[in-house]
Symmetry: C3
Subunit: 356 residues, 3 copies
């Protein structure tokens, strides 16, 4: 029996020295988003925003039917980049400059292309940071999401030469003038009772803090199903046999699942914040594991008018996900900027919300 | 940094003193039911009734396609009422007078409105019982389900004055003459082999008992996914961090999930009982938890003809769900009316079944 | 209260003496496959083959839309046969001569009919082996899958007379000339980058071994949801209360779930092996349980041209699923033919793969 071994067909992912500035990565596995994905997203996160839940509600606002939840779009676009970008990532360090484009509906097919926009070896010589700008597009080539993330990636060979360091200049937030609001979406007929909240744009003020009150415990089956639904292949989420040998000894929950749980919890207090417009920044402060109970609270950072719109405005929110600690006390950074140890996520984003 | 706290935007649910007789509650989050919901319902319950499983089978009986399982409709309609009715419920005490209306198909959008039809403070002064009549409607305003449930709700303030007690006069069962059978549904071409049972209406007799034989163990991920699919937000199902402090120390399984498991198990013995027509009554005798194995058995209470129908009749069934105990011995109430401690559910309902 | 007990309505499944050579079994519960089933299959297995993931990718190859994954078809067809064939099975011994027919698309309705093609009592007198040929058909009566499996089934009565033994002569593999390749499927426009692999038919050679590298840990909720999705009712997968009394003390994972996990893992190394054409043979070497981490590797057995096709060829693969052991060392049979104790599945099949 011949014993030819085809190591080269098995994707071992890109290591730090495989990346170069300006490099373009066309990611695999285009995905047609379906009503099945929507149902699973609801079952896995508990999201209750009316616009994404009801075709009739969406039609009353001008859409042809209920759009796909923006975070489901985010996870699908993100997931495709994992085999090429973060298969060997040590950590997902941050997000910036994320802008949602045209809405996605069931039947649309998404693909993702990423470009390396920054690269810098760490002083340890064992890892480096790679900045990528990933753009998800639908079958017509229209952008559905454009965002930057940066990850710490292992080097294959510690002796490999360091590339010329280049760190992109990233905006701290998406300018309100750059937010994309679908023109067909009109809130004249918006029904607060069906939406589940009486609070509109005018009712929020910068500095306001909202405890989203609920808590949800994560199970292994749930976070793995979510992560597979997004065809995200990062090893750390799925393999207990290997994870048992790591410092955590556990599978790590995909950070995006925490973002989705926090967003779903935020319905209680922000039920009319019906659509994400942009991701200004985000940071996974600490890993989460099965058995953790996630709570969330939000701070209103800004209340902005939207050009040409009298019917809706934008809220800039900073949502914190917290584990095993209720948020009545708004666990946050301390005076030295150090996070309360229960905080697992800080997420800064713009949402669309009807005006009176 | 301002520290405005917007407690009033966070829904803390209605407490007993927030309810009043005749009050109407228009619930949030309309929901378009999809094929994705159907697939999840199958995966979470194991239901095998042919009418709801196959478009072709349904077409042979006159429907345009497979209808949504009646209990999935029940859960969706029920789920919407939770944030307003039972967010602060101590217990879901019972169901009565539930009548399924027009069939629901994928693409239909459901909303729920409830009316308070009874209210009575408990002698403890700490809680009270609220009776609500919830009506689920499709996008054309047609009733898909109309039922009564009553729940024990905490008072916010024990010193609040008790309302004038009013307890509705609820029927012990839905009159067979009031059952709604879709006119297009005709059983002339009904295929017993595809349906999985040779037993038709004539083969059942009052007093007959049927052991459904199988047993299914509940996992945390499953009951939480089911409950979130229904956008049911009751806190007791999701939060282990908080549940650890309760007398059970565990998350409680949504009682409706037990009804669905019992119904799915009942296929074995009642495979032609293809559609629920009404819910006469129901009682969650004891809570269920992850790890429990649910068995079920049924007693035939009545066999009724249906006005104007030679092709189908109705069976009134009393199905008991039992945990960690096989049902060959039909665990039931004892001579004093006290339930076998293994019983978790008693459910009294009408099903539609073909005649010869 | 009358206490009529209707044992005869409860399906206790067929025992060995209920089977006879030539017997035809028309199985229950026709199933319309939906986008919801597809989403769940993705979430439960992590499959990433582009042809089944994207309508656009499928259209570029000539299909009207993305077809249903062949293994999802297999599970659906198989599942229907369980209540009649393997409800009382001790073990699922093997598969042979499985040939996929016309592709299945969302909206198609599948039914299964099986014929007993062999029967042989075991020397113990307590069990016997039943060989069935199961054929799954769509709503037009076209075969979507035709395969043989054999199972060891308990006798109801050990004293029942043994039938005349008859063991079918089963082929060791499906002849490449008998493989059914949809004529509309053309690989001229095949996009390797979107598919996620640069390796085509010409790049594989008999004897080559491929480590699929990843590993995935199974949870109880996942394998039960998968098995219920397929409406497979075999008791051993669902009931911990009863399983606690067995020699394993655990629920056993449906063997087909292991096949699906191995196939999904095989994407890494065989990403262009876009469609199963046939199942030559398969064997569940050992049971799997929740908590097991499944790895996989494959050996290329044959590389065959396909009659009339210049754009695609067939690879005969032998994929092994292995538990709690990475596959860099290709755990296999030893020189005496005995499997490495970590191996749980050996699966021999033909896949379709584009040529250059």
């Amino acid at each position: 029996m011949p014993t030819i071994t085809a190591i080269n067909k098995t994707n071992t992912g890109n290591f730090f020295e495989d990346f170069s500035l300006g490099q373009s990565l066309r990611h695999a596995t285009p995905r047609t988003i379906s009503e099945g994905d929507v149902a699973l997203y609801t079952a896995l996160t508990g999201s209750r925003f009316a616009l994404q839940s009801s075709d009739d509600f969406a039609r009353a606002l001008g859409f042809e039917r209920a759009p796909i939840d923006d975070l489901l779009v985010f996870h699908m676009v993100f997931g495709k980049s994992v085999p090429d970008v973060s298969f060997n990532a040590v950590a997902n360090l941050g997000y910036a400059n994320g802008r949602f484009g045209v809405p996605v509906f069931p039947g649309d097919t998404l693909t993702t292309v990423s470009q390396v926009i920054g690269i810098k070896e760490n002083s340890s010589g064992k890892t480096g940071v790679v900045y990528v700008n990933s753009v998800g597009r639908n079958q017509r080539g229209e952008s559905v999401l454009d965002f930057v993330r940066w990850v710490m990636v292992n080097k294959r060979d510690e002796d490999a030469a360091a590339p010329e360091p280049s760190v992109p200049d990233l905006p701290g937030l998406v300018d309100p003038g750059d937010l994309i609001v679908p023109g067909v979406l009109q809130f004249t007929e918006y029904d607060d009772a069906l939406a589940g909240s009486a609070a509109r744009w005018e009712d929020y003020a910068p500095g306001e803090r909202i405890d989203h009150a609920g808590g949800v415990t994560i199970e292994e089956a749930e976070h793995m199903m979510a992560t597979r639904l997004y065809q995200n292949t990062a090893k750390v989420h799925f393999n207990q046999h290997a994870a048992g040998e790591t410092r955590f000894g556990r599978r790590i929950v995909y950070g995006g699942h925490i973002i989705s749980l926090a967003r779903a919890l935020s319905f209680n207090g922000l039920g009319n914040g019906c659509k994400l417009l942009a991701i200004n920044g985000g940071r996974h402060v600490a890993p989460s594991f099965a058995g953790d109970t996630i709570y969330a609270w939000s701070e209103v950072l800004e209340c902005q008018e939207l050009a040409g719109r009298k019917d809706a405005g934008a809220l800039r929110l900073r949502t914190l996900a917290v584990k095993d600690k209720a948020c009545a006390g708004f666990p946050d950074r301390d005076s030295e900027g150090k996070f309360d140890p229960a905080v697992v996520l800080e997420f800064d984003y713009w949402v669309l919300i009807p005006r009176r």
